[in-house]
């Protein structure tokens, strides 16, 4: 919502583009079948299309809007998501525009009780978290899509008005300003948001629980001198009934997020005057005396809802179309991007004939598993942010009061901004016995960690777009059996990239070598001479060996492609 007198897209800082309708060839009789159609040009849909393009797969993206998202909405983008954006060749404008941050402060009765410090070091290319408005996220992704017109055909003002599917094809009815047309696809990626038309058309329903409580988010523009940190206020003297969150965004925009009291009527609470009064009382509390302008506001509830299965034959659901999570863990957008990447590389390998369709069976366990993990964490966060009963209220107050003088209860105020989900239990992850031979490093199923090689040069910059094999060596010659292994792996995955980590100079350099004389990467991966990590296209570890076993590596790659059915 916007203040009276301003249109839905009249922003104080963002100029909304208007995307033209371009006549689709299907309107004049073309009936090509596309490898993938993506429904929804939000952050998830566009990331999926770019991830497919990265694997050389063409797609059509449909969206009924003629512009970008109408408000800032999802503003926290994680390091892991930035690493994904980097792989998609899209990260530069994000780095330029976003505000990176590492810390947070929680207050109880206006006294600081907890300092959030997210893991960060000079080994990382990116901050643990970035704040940026969703319109910018979408604009930068749309700009990147504009650079690959041969691979991504993005069609604005094109609404999916019908869905028909068989075992191996989807036919959509697309409604446009110039009429309807049928659109055929081998696969459909439904990233059409919380009110997914495709979900409804297939008769599917989100299941789970609606948590109690309403929250308001309001964006204001003001000159306010405070670092980019997450500020959280419990029972502030000025607003004792609400938990309040404050985040800085680019363009002098500040996000204020508060919970409505139990007696407050949601419809009344979002009237403009009430919003202004509430914002002013919160600004008084933080000591801001200057002018401010109201930009935009919205209301939401904290829900934990998801589909029972994220894949239905040739249709894969991603992002809010598949799951609605409470915002406290900032996993809505970030997990949506992970869905997109996960679906995209698997579809690409199936479409390229390098994997059986059974590979797609792993999509639900991996990505629905990630959703359920968020539910577990967000459930705890939500119960703390919004105590659902008198017992929870008392225990929260007890923990907060003790936090004034005692360290041990302060962690209750941690927002649990969870790390990427581990695919340890995935059917694509194998050789767990080999995994347990390591002391530390990056476990099978976990996502690869970054390490600095030189100024502006990091390990993850060097990964391939297919599977990557990290081979650690302390010798000056590459053993013949390793050369043979690389050949075998490249026969299974044409995009396979060997990446050698050498603690001494390697003599023969047929493959890319990273010199790691300080053993910095060796240490992070708990590697010894002859260790091997098999990384998936989404940077998760498929399997690893302290001392490489070529036959097992080959089998692990087949397993990670859904190809072993022994």
């Amino acid at each position: 919502m916007r203040p009276a007198g301003r249109g839905e897209l009249e922003s104080l800082y963002f100029k909304y583009p208007k995307f033209r309708f371009r006549r689709a060839p299907e309107l004049t009789g073309a009936s090509d079948r596309y490898p993938v159609v993506v429904a929804g040009a939000g952050p998830v849909g566009m990331t999926a299309a770019l991830s497919l393009a990265r694997q050389g797969i063409r797609s059509v993206v449909l969206d009924e809007k003629d512009t970008l998202n109408d408000g800032s909405r999802a503003i926290c983008v994680s390091r892991h998501s930035f690493e994904t954006l980097q792989q998609l060749g899209a990260v530069e404008p994000f780095e330029h525009k976003s505000l990176g941050w590492t810390n947070g402060r929680s207050y109880y009765r206006d006294r600081i009780i907890y300092r959030l410090e997210m893991p960060h070091s000079d080994q990382e290319r990116f901050f643990p978290m970035y704040n940026i408005q969703q319109q910018y996220i979408e604009r930068f992704l749309a700009d990147r899509i504009g650079e690959v017109p041969d691979l991504i055909d993005i069609r604005w003002q094109s609404r999916v008005s019908g869905v028909g599917k068989s075992a191996d094809e989807v036919t959509l009815c697309v409604t446009t300003p110039e009429g309807e047309y049928p659109l055929r696809a081998r696969y459909l990626l439904a990233a059409d948001g919380a009110r997914s038309r495709i979900r409804d058309a297939l008769g599917l329903r989100l299941k789970g629980e609606n948590l109690p409580g309403h929250y308001v988010i309001a964006d204001i523009q003001m000159d306010h001198d405070f670092p980019t940190e997450r500020r959280c206020f419990f029972e502030s003297v000025a607003n004792p009934e609400s938990t309040i969150l404050i985040h800085r965004q680019p363009d002098n925009i500040w996000r204020i997020d508060w919970q409505l009291g139990g007696h407050e009527d949601a419809a009344q609470a979002i009237g403009e005057e009430r919003i202004r009064a509430r914002v002013q009382s919160i600004l008084d509390m933080i000591g801001h005396t200057g002018a401010w302008e109201l930009e935009w506001w919205s209301i939401y509830t904290a829900n934990s809802l998801c589909l029972d299965a994220y894949r239905h034959g040739p249709v894969l659901f991603a992002g809010d179309a598949a799951h609605i999570v409470p915002i406290f863990g900032v996993r809505g957008l970030n997990n949506g991007l992970d869905d997109a990447v996960n679906a995209a590389w698997k579809l690409a390998y199936v479409l390229n004939g390098e994997a059986e369709e059974t590979l797609l069976d792993s999509y639900t366990p991996e990505r629905r598993g990630a959703t359920l993990d968020v539910f577990r964490n967000a459930g705890r966060s939500s119960r703390f942010m919004t105590p659902p009963s008198r017992g929870y209220s008392l225990m929260r107050k007890a923990a907060l009061q003790l936090s004034l003088t005692r360290e041990f209860t302060r962690r209750f105020a941690d927002p649990r901004q969870v790390a990427p989900y581990t695919y340890r239990g995935s059917p694509l992850t194998s050789c767990v016995m080999r995994d347990s031979e390591f002391c530390g490093g990056v476990e099978a199923g976990d996502v690869a960690v970054n390490r600095k090689i030189a100024e502006g040069d990091y390990l993850l910059d060097h990964l391939g777009c297919g599977f990557t094999g990290l081979y650690f060596t302390q010798k000056d010659q590459l053993p013949d059996r390793i050369l043979a292994l690389f050949v075998r792996l490249a026969e299974i995955d044409r995009k396979f990239k060997p990446l050698l980590l050498a603690s001494r100079g390697l003599q023969r350099r047929t493959f890319e070598v990273i010199e790691d004389r300080q053993r910095n990467i060796f240490t992070a991966y708990a590697a010894a001479d002859d260790s091997f990590y098999l990384l998936r296209p989404d940077r998760h570890v498929a399997a690893r060996w302290v001392s490489v076993e070529p036959d097992e590596v080959e089998q692990a790659l087949l397993t990670a492609l859904g190809r072993n059915r022994r």
Partner: protein, 63 residues
């Protein structure tokens, strides 16, 4: 389970908690007891002991 605290010390706990509940007053007595639970639980390294205590304290409340 053996008694860790001598009975004469337990008697002191009895008196002190009673006095502290009175000091807290009806408005804050529940909060006081919640804080006390967290503080005491923090010194116990066996979750099952705490869970047993919660179950025992919760039983026979309506006798």
């Amino acid at each position: 389970m053996t008694d860790k605290l001598a009975f004469h010390d337990l008697e002191k706990v009895y008196d002190r908690v009673a006095a502290a509940i009175d000091d807290a007053g009806p408005a804050n007595e529940s909060l006081f007891l919640c804080k006390l639970c967290l503080l005491l639980a923090h010194h116990i390294d066996d979750l099952s002991l705490i869970e047993d205590a919660i179950a025992t304290a919760g039983s026979d409340l309506h006798v």
